[in-house]
Amino acid sequence: MILRSDAAKGYSLSAPATIYVGFLVAAPLAILIAYSFWTQTYVTLDKSLTLKNYREALTDPLVQHLMLRSIWIAGAVTIVTVALAYPIAYFIAMKAHKKTIWLLLITIPFWSSYLLRVFAWKLILGFNGVMNSALLGLGLINEPLSFLLYNEFAVVLTLAHAWAPFAILPIYVSLQKIDPSLLEAATDLGNNAFQRFMRVTLPLTIPGIIAACLIIFIPTVGDYVTPALVGGSDGKMIANLIQVQFGAANNWPLGATLSLMAMLSVGFVAIVFVITGNRLGRRIR
């Protein structure tokens, strides 16, 4: 009797989330899967099931090229962001006195729109933008640098800036959980500061680092607006091709197939990453 009411309580508590996820994640995903097996010619949608889209997507070198580039850009963004975020998180967790103010300051970029931040980078890196004007004014260069914008570098830079707080916060939480007595014990046992960091602090923050990596990697692989605005033709990613299928090409079935393949690739990379991350964490320990 008690068990049953517990179960009922559980169901009723999870019902809102279940309904929400069911309507807004599971249902669209099911539609996406259905579409990926259909075909489109001009304005007619042929609903007979076929693997044609998968064949087309798997054999197309353009898809492979863009998929690999997306994974590499997202990987680079993840590494850059986490590497830059760790010292900041370390400072706040270990050294700072007014932690709340520091955390607030870090979230300030989030008070403005994502699009606005991307445009800001465009203004900074542009041909007659802030960076070029400053360098020209200082006499360091004779003509504006053109390699700042419209390439992979610009995409990585913009994304790394936009996602920084997402890396700082999980790492900060994992650093804060470290029991200071463990660090004291390491010192008592003769470890210097570097050894103490490598043997105590870093292994204990691995879960935070993995969380930060996943939070950044997964959304950035599918980022559309940043490569569209600052990527030029050398910085285009898989999401831009998907957008073309849903827009100009009016080929939703192929777009759906590409979306699913992107999801699978991201999932695969993420799983491999988590497994190796955990192994690595254990070895350090």
């Binding site: 010619t41 001009y42 304005v43 070198p61 353009l62 090229h65 863009l66 542009g126 041909f127 007659n128 504006p144 053109s146 419209y150 569209a228 030029g232 033709s233 050398d234 285009k236 091709l241 073309v244 849903f246 827009g247 100009a248 090409a249 009016n250 080929n251």
Partner: protein, 353 residues
């Protein structure tokens, strides 16, 4: 006393709000942004309680098509002539009644002949504005004698050119450059390959493929790029900002022309009388004069050119509309199969394949 006054005020507000919904704003138009300019439809507002129609916007024809296909409803929409065949095939629009279009007789005779305006004997689009897509260049960097479409592939202009991120426009350019403009809507395999090769040849020079005209205008202004395949709107923005730039308007060297207009959607629910009031207001010579003088776009009504400021017409480059209709490439609907090929190939070219 006070309460009474508030009640009276509330009543007045409610009744006036009621009359709003019965007036001009009842009519919904699905349009490019900016076309809600009241200068375009003064007569309509005069007739319908000084109210403008309600506008909702799209950023590209593909976006508009996708939105309409997924159930968006409106009374009128504003695509360009190349989209009409597809919209008819998708059963989105209904024919217009020529006899109710009071300005039809005054339309430029050539514009009525444009592909997509009339399909299978049915009039589907009332042409509104038209213009050119052409090669805009910095006159201080390149002389008018040297400029040509082939110059786009010159290695001297590495990183100095831009074309639209749109397959149809890119292939129009390539068809002109390779001498196959007459066959643009129906390129043979060999001609298609020539055009693709041209686009591949200019790809290394590309600074970016522009997706909004503002991006191109800024790059032209700063000198980041020196040549761009773009709309006449960009040329005007540059002229108005006193940038030394011009569009290569020589029909022999290659220029394209587009025509856009209004279509009657099948999902329309508003009284037809009101719809034709707006269509007739939009095609008035007075509206044409307004768009010519204030927007720098040529209008579809021939009489608009008679009453508009002749100096502006000259400066904006369409003193002789006939020459464009005869000598330029028209953005007509491309054969669907070829269009799909263009889209797929253009994605490859942009990625460097």
């Amino acid at each position: 006393m006070k309460l009474q006054r508030i009640a009276a005020f509330a009543f007045a507000t409610v009744t006036s709000a009621g009359s709003v919904s019965a007036g001009g704003a009842d009519l919904s138009v699905f349009d490019w942004s900016g076309y809600e300019d009241p200068g375009f439809f003064a007569n309509y507002m005069a007739k319908h309680g000084n109210e403008a129609p309600s506008y909702s916007y799209f950023g590209s024809q593909e976006e508009a098509f996708t939105k309409l296909m997924s159930g968006f409803t409106a009374d009128l929409a504003h695509p360009c002539s190349d989209a009409v065949r597809k919209w008819v095939a998708a059963d989105l629009i209904q024919p217009l009644d020529e006899s109710r279009l009071t300005n039809w007789a005054d339309m430029l005779p050539e514009i009525k002949e444009v592909d997509g305006i009339v399909i299978d004997g049915n009039l589907y689009m009332l042409p509104f504005e038209w213009g050119n897509t052409g090669l805009i260049y910095r006159t201080d960097k390149i002389s008018g004698d040297d400029i040509s479409l082939q110059l786009l592939s010159d290695p001297a202009y590495a990183g100095k050119i831009s074309i639209p991120d749109a397959a149809s426009s890119a292939y129009a350019l390539a068809s002109l450059a390779t001498g196959n403009a007459d066959n643009y809507t129906n390129l043979t395999d060999a001609q298609f390959k020539e055009a693709s090769d041209f686009l591949r040849a200019i790809h290394p020079n590309m600074r970016f493929y522009w997706s909004d005209a503002g991006q191109l205008d800024q790059a032209m202004t700063s000198g980041e790029i020196e040549m761009g395949w773009a709309w006449n709107q960009s040329e005007l923005n540059l002229i108005w900002n006193e940038v030394p730039a011009a569009m290569m308007r020589d029909v022999d060297k290659g220029i394209a022309t587009w025509v856009c207009g209004y279509v009657h959607l099948k999902s329309s629910t508003t009284d037809e009388e009101q719809i034709y009031d707006l269509l007739n207001a939009l095609s008035e010579p007075g509206s044409g004069q307004y768009i010519i003088e204030n927007w720098g776009y040529p209008h579809a009504n021939a009489r608009a050119f008679e009453i508009a400021d002749q100096a502006s017409i000259e400066a904006y480059g369409f003193a002789d509309p006939k020459s464009f209709f005869e000598g330029s490439l028209f953005f007509d609907a491309v054969n669907p199969e070829l269009e799909a090929k263009m889209l797929a190939e253009f994605e490859r070219i942009k990625a460097g394949f």
